[in-house]
């Protein structure tokens, strides 16, 4: 038999000024199953709470309704009080007599009547509430960081420094990402390698970090705190423990003309290679696609010269399985490179290059040792044109969004050019200068005012070649759309920043959502920019959208804190207001018909399959099962299920129907 207690609060006069609190307490006190009913001036005060606790014990209450302010304000207070008195906290409900009644209505009988109704509804509800236990899940305190660019490096270091283990998985042979390719960085023009390399080394040496380069995530199972990940370590064809990184093999390899990815095709590398001198780890890998041995069955020069016999041609890929508790995705971005703009001739004219190629030209460690030389003939370009928004903000041929970083790096490029080629002329075609950031606009102004970079507001229509020069046909919209024609030696296109190839595949493997441009999607654009929709998986850096280094690093540290917060508990406790699929006795097992419509609408991928099998393992029936670790309790699945097989703790079908009936029917 239910024994309900009702506690009507005056809130000083906030409630009692318009609601007759005494009458409310008296009226509901007469209802069936109400064992105790009273009113009091301040329920949340210490004496108020004591009153409640005493009543629970004294009257052996099986449920209470605190009729006071908004549950959004004091539900935790009163649930805690209930728990202290030995009543399951989920058997305490609050009727909102203040925000939803006394403050919004005039003092009259109808208002008091409404207050009575509000209390009644919750009395009926709490009668059928069930005692719920918070959900506890254990936490594996090892984090996985996917992607070893600056964002991944920062996250890994921050997490590792909180004392937790980190596994860092990088797809390419070295960590460093795009930042390692940059020459100098805006807005300070400090050398990218100089600030990045120490971090890379720190990663390699950190006792809490295990680094897997040349590796990729194969699959992921489990949920927050309890993931199992499979990592494929691609065969490097060398035995790393024996390799000293002497580099002899790379100098002797006869394959020398493979376009160097790190140099953005502006240089070459051998088949056994270290992507760049400061690479971490600084040990080579064999590119099997280009190695003569793998292609033709002979060569093995590297094996012959290797002093430590570290080469292993028969090394297989290795798949390892690890348990982890949280994931940071930091797989970065890329820039558009294909010939998506035939009118600009990218890919056709050697001297029309992209931003990353320019970085390599400007980099002291690049193919020209930092001299700005045009690729076609190695001459110093005297007239250089930069084209901003090349493919960005262009729904017709490119992408609709603004790539965010190119205004800044274009200003940087023009500046670097002017610093290196004093007599040269730099022109920038732009639509808007987007340089919001600390010291950013000042930086752009410096390019214009101190380095005399010629900024022209207007887009370029076409670029064509004549007599070894590039004719750039643009317009100056600030001069009434006057056509501008520049005879340039070299053109740099600030091509759009796009999602990394493979991002979609990775998102699917990790069960996180991504947007229409294949960038990873945050859980909330403003308040959860670091979280994904999947609990325990976080985002850092340009994998979310094009970002510069300061933003990538900030977010990476943010993601690290989220992981650290998760790891600060040995168990996760969560409000048990989650969905569940009903179970009946065999042979039915559940009323669920296995349509999995619920699965298709769940925003958190919390619905799994559960098989019922005969003793010999034959599947009799497959039904839905809620993963409590993932379910956030939105109830979308409940409303959708046609066989009414799913229900939601705290907002069950029975509970909400009871509320409706109580509300509409007189007592």
């Amino acid at each position: 038999m239910a024994r309900i207690g009702v506690f009507v609060c005056h809130c000083g006069e906030n409630i009692s000024a318009t609601v007759d609190c005494g009458k409310v307490a008296e009226t509901v006190g007469k209802l069936k199953h109400v064992a105790f009913s009273t009113d009091y001036k301040y329920m949340c005060s210490d004496p108020g709470q004591t009153l409640i606790k005493d009543a629970i014990k004294e009257h052996k209450l099986t449920g209470i309704v605190v009729s006071a302010c908004s549950p959004r304000m004091h539900e935790p207070t009163f649930r805690k009080a209930a728990a202290e008195a030995g009543l399951n906290p989920f058997l305490c409900e609050m009727a909102n007599l203040r925000e939803h009644c006394s403050w919004v209505h005039e003092k009259n009988e109808m208002t008091t009547d409404k207050a009575i109704d509000l209390v009644r509804i919750l009395i009926e509800k709490v009668k059928i509430n069930s005692a719920l236990q918070p959900i506890r899940v254990p936490v594996t305190k090892t984090a996985l960081v996917v992607g070893g660019g600056i964002a991944g490096i920062q996250s890994a270091l921050d997490i590792a420094n909180t004392g937790h283990k980190v596994i860092l998985v990088e797809r390419s042979p070295s960590i460093g990402g795009h930042m390692s390719q940059l020459s100098e960085t805006f807005p300070t023009l400090d050398c990218s390698q100089c600030i990045l390399t120490p971090r890379m080394v720190e990663v390699a040496q950190h006792p809490n970090i295990t680094l897997y380069t040349y590796a990729e995530v194969e699959s992921l199972d489990g949920f927050i705190g309890n993931f199992t990940v499979k990592i494929r370590k691609k065969a490097k064809s060398i035995y790393e423990k024996d390799c000293t990184g002497c580099g002899l093999c790379t100098t002797k390899c006869p394959q020398k003309k493979i376009p160097n990815e790190f140099e953005e095709g502006l240089g070459f590398r051998p088949a056994i290679y270290v992507p760049f001198p400061q690479a971490v780890p600084n040990k080579p890998v064999i590119d099997r696609e280009h190695c003569t041995y793998y292609l033709k069955g002979k060569c093995k020069v590297c094996e012959i010269v290797c002093p430590t016999k570290a080469i292993r041609f028969d090394q297989p890929d290795e798949v390892i399985e690890v348990k982890i508790g949280a994931i940071v995705i930091a797989t970065g971005f890329d820039i558009k490179r294909s010939n998506f703009f035939p009118e600009y001739g990218f890919g056709k004219y050697k001297d029309v290059i992209d931003g990353l190629q320019f970085e390599r030209l400007a980099s002291a460690s690049g193919p020209t040792s930092g001299a700005i030389l045009r690729p076609s003939d190695g001459q110093v370009p005297k007239n250089i044109v930069f084209v901003a928004c090349a493919g960005s903000r262009d729904p017709a041929k490119g992408i609709a969004y603004c790539s965010k970083i190119c205004c800044m790096y274009t200003a940087k490029h023009a500046m670097l050019y002017k610093h290196k080629v004093h007599e040269g002329k730099a022109h920038v075609f732009y639509m808007d200068i987007r340089s919001a950031g600390k010291n950013y606009d000042e930086f752009v102004r410096r390019a214009i005012e101190e380095d005399y970079v010629n900024y022209i507001r207007g887009r370029v229509s076409t670029i064509y070649e004549r007599d070894g020069k590039l004719i750039v046909k643009g317009v100056d919209t600030l001069l009434g759309a006057q056509p501008v024609e520049i005879v340039a030696d070299m053109v740099v296109l600030a091509t759009a920043g796009v999602a990394n190839p493979g991002a979609e595949e990775l998102a699917q493997k990790l069960h996180v959502s991504y947007d229409s441009h294949k960038f990873f999607a945050e859980a909330h654009p403003k308040l959860k920019p670091v979280e994904t929709n999947t609990a325990g998986i976080f985002l850092a850096g340009a994998c979310q959208n094009p970002k510069d280094i300061p933003d990538s690093v900030s977010q990476a540290s943010g993601a690290a804190v989220k992981v650290a917060a998760l790891f600060s508990q040995s168990e996760l406790t969560r409000e048990p207001l989650v969905a569940y699929v009903n179970r009946t006795s065999p042979p039915m097992y559940s009323t669920c018909v296995g349509c999995f419509l619920c699965q298709s609408v769940c925003p958190y991928q919390a619905i799994e399959h559960e098989d019922f099998k005969t003793r010999d393992g034959k599947i009799i029936k497959t039904v839905a099962k809620i993963n409590e670790g993932l379910c956030q309790g939105c109830g979308t699945c409940v409303a959708l299920c046609r066989s009414k097989s799913i229900d939601l703790h705290g907002y069950s079908n029975n509970q909400v129907y009871t509320e409706v009936v109580a509300l509409l029917n007189d007592y």
Partner: protein, 281 residues
């Protein structure tokens, strides 16, 4: 083989040379070209500049006549006419209400079933595959292929080649032994519709095209549109005056070049009708 043809006004007038080369080529490849009976002018630039309904009605009459006479496919050698016809097809397909209105104007039942073929598509489908063994005099020249605006734009409607740096004509020329030059002006406008009313503008625009082709060492320009041809060939004195030079670069129709390559005489392909002498062959 039999196929419909819509010559349009130019081919029966100022572009007789083009007409002759198209028919000569058809004959050499056993293709019978059947004219759309009692065809009318497509209205050209003038109609759509001045009256939208007229600009759709004139082509619709042509197409409806072709439909009525069972011509499922028609070759339209003039790029300008081709453009008007295909744009009409597109607009009327997009907008059934407009289609009804136009049908009312022309008093015919236009359905939009005719397949329109431009000259390069025709060459690609019916000439190139049968070229083997026919080339007696490879067209061993450096050529600049000029497509103009109407063959590639609007790309979404024409759905032919690509709007920037198209290649179809270049490929055809390479097949008959020519060397197709890199030519960035291939889709720049020659001035087309302003030919008579703004000779200065046309001289300037067409002049840029000629100048660049000469600069790149072309032996001849190759075109597939009578409007382009008349601006680049007939207007040469104006161009030369405007550019204060003496460009002698000939301008040939793609059909003429193929004709010569398979051994037709200059006269058979109408070369003698050109204003700028063609000292090729």
């Amino acid at each position: 083989m039999k196929i419909g043809v819509y010559p349009g006004c130019s081919l029966t007038g100022s572009a007789r040379d083009y007409n002759e080369s198209v028919f000569a080529l058809a004959k050499a490849f056993d293709i019978e070209l059947v004219q759309v009976p009692d065809w009318n002018c497509c209205g050209a630039t003038a109609a759509h500049n001045l009256n939208r309904e007229l600009s759709l009605s004139l082509p619709a009459r042509i197409l409806a006549t072709a439909e009525k006479n069972g011509l499922d496919e028609i070759l339209v050698p003039c790029a300008a006419c081709y453009s008007r016809l295909i744009v009409t097809q597109h607009e009327l397909k997009k907008n059934p209400e407009l289609k009804n209105r136009i049908n009312e104007i022309i008093g015919m039942d236009y359905r939009g079933t005719t397949k329109l073929i431009n000259v390069i598509e025709w060459i690609d489908a019916s000439i190139i595959p049968n070229l083997e063994g026919k080339i007696t005099k490879p067209f061993d020249y450096k050529v600049a292929c000029y497509y103009g605006c109407l063959m590639v734009r609007p790309n979404k409607v024409l759905n032919y080649d690509r709007a920037e740096d198209p290649q179809t004509m270049d490929i055809v020329m390479e097949k008959i032994g020519a060397h197709a030059l890199y030519f960035p002006f291939k889709t720049e406008c020659c001035g087309a519709g302003l030919s008579v009313s703004r000779t200065d503008t046309v001289s300037k625009l067409s002049g840029k095209i000629i100048e660049d082709a000469v600069h790149r060492g072309a032996d001849t320009l190759i075109v597939a549109c009578p409007m382009c041809h008349s601006n680049l060939d007939m207007r040469r004195p104006d161009i030369n005056k405007y550019w204060k030079s003496d460009f002698k670069l000939p301008v040939m129709y793609v059909t003429q070049a193929i004709g010569l390559a398979i051994g037709l005489t200059p006269k058979e392909v109408g070369l003698q009708r050109h204003f700028v002498k063609v000292n090729i062959s």
